[in-house]
């Protein structure tokens, strides 16, 4: 039986005609299959890359969780994902200034609160413009200078993420100001306006209640020194 079976199978197999070339219909189907496979691989790679990118982005955007019992600082809250957050524009900000008397000068700063419901960032140093009572810029007799940020002046550690300051809704950034030699004595206090880098201008409230610094150098320009944006509401 086994030999008969072998013989039968060989005889039947020999009836199959030879296949000398790839049939045309098979070529077309194979090409479609190869193209579909390549497309599937491409889509898979694309989806994986997209997923990985979204994952990394979500991870970087996740807020840093503060351990319980430790006080949070603005700098800790503002560290992550600054590169993906928009710049704070003047429409989002409210600027309030305050200064205190020092030896012949006034020291304080401008607090910029984020009134919007979205997080935004500030970076660099705003441009200060002093305006007279007619809201005209004071173009002469004023020298603008720079000063270090408050944390550097105090010897405190550099805030995380600085020089980018991320301002969450309701939080504030701060600009340190030192103002001296406002001549002549009794000259009305100017109005202050800030030009936010890439974010428009914002008027500063609160300085109208500040008594200008004394005129210690008649004929000398008034000096305004300002620091860069830094987290928090100042000292």
């Amino acid at each position: 039986m086994r030999d008969d079976l072998r013989e039968l199978l060989r005889r039947r197999a020999a009836q199959v005609p030879p296949h000398l070339e790839l049939p045309r219909s098979l070529t077309g189907r194979a090409r479609r299959r190869i193209a579909l496979n390549a497309l599937a691989v491409g889509l898979t790679v694309l989806l994986l890359a997209g997923g990985a990118f979204a994952g990394v982005r979500a991870f970087r955007a996740a807020p840093v969780r503060q351990p319980e019992g430790e006080p949070t600082t603005s700098s800790d809250q503002h560290t992550p994902s600054a590169s993906t957050i928009p710049v704070c524009t003047s429409a989002r900000l409210r600027a309030v200034g305050s200064m205190q008397g020092a030896a012949g000068s006034r020291e304080g700063g401008i607090s910029l609160a984020n009134l919007s419901d979205a997080t935004c960032t500030l970076q660099g140093t705003p441009t200060i413009t002093l305006l007279d009572q007619n809201l005209e810029p004071v173009t002469s007799g004023v020298t603008l200078g720079s000063s270090p940020p408050g944390w550097a002046a105090d010897g405190s550690p550099e805030p995380a993420g600085w020089p980018v300051v991320t301002v969450r809704p309701g939080d504030s950034a701060f600009v340190r100001i030192r103002w001296s030699n406002w001549c002549p004595d009794g000259r009305p206090a100017p109005l202050w306006r800030l030009d936010i880098p890439g974010g428009g201008t914002v008027d500063v409230n609160g300085f109208e209640a500040v008594t200008p610094p004394p005129c210690n150098g008649p004929g000398q320009p008034s000096t305004v020194e300002e620091g860069p944006f830094e987290p928090g509401t100042g000292p």
Binding site: E21, L22, P23, R29, R33, A35
Partner: protein, 171 residues
Amino acid sequence: MDRLAATDTGKLGELYVRHADDAVRLAYLLTGDLALAEDLVQDAFVRLAGRLVHLRDPGAFDAYLRRTVMNLSNSHFRRKKVERAYLARARGAIRTQDGPWSDRSVEDRDPLWQALGRLSRRQRVAIVLRFYEDLPEREVAEILKCRPGTVKSLVSRGLETLRNEIRGEGR
């Protein structure tokens, strides 16, 4: 992508000329239907066309093709079984079985060939792989996803059935 497809189809052409005859013969012995065997082998080549880039060992293509033809043949008979069961239920019939191959020519009077077609699918596969492909029981077991002892049993019972059928037809 066109260049890739052209390269792969060129490679596929070479493989087809070299392996198609053997694959069609195997499919024919498994199904008893030459046209169906040609279709199954074409389907197998189309499936393998998309995987040629992953084929590291060209010598393994033969085994790969055989396995694909086997799987497609099994799928075909499973589908046919479902169809037959459905038709049988629709006709109120009770009997459904693994069934012989369906296209036996009226002129095809070879009793052993007819009897082979009436074996169960697994018995027929085991016998073809053992007596035509000359595969050892271990390899047949791998293809059928069973133990070598099961292959031995399938072959033994298949042969017994064939003997009985031939004796019955001889009377």
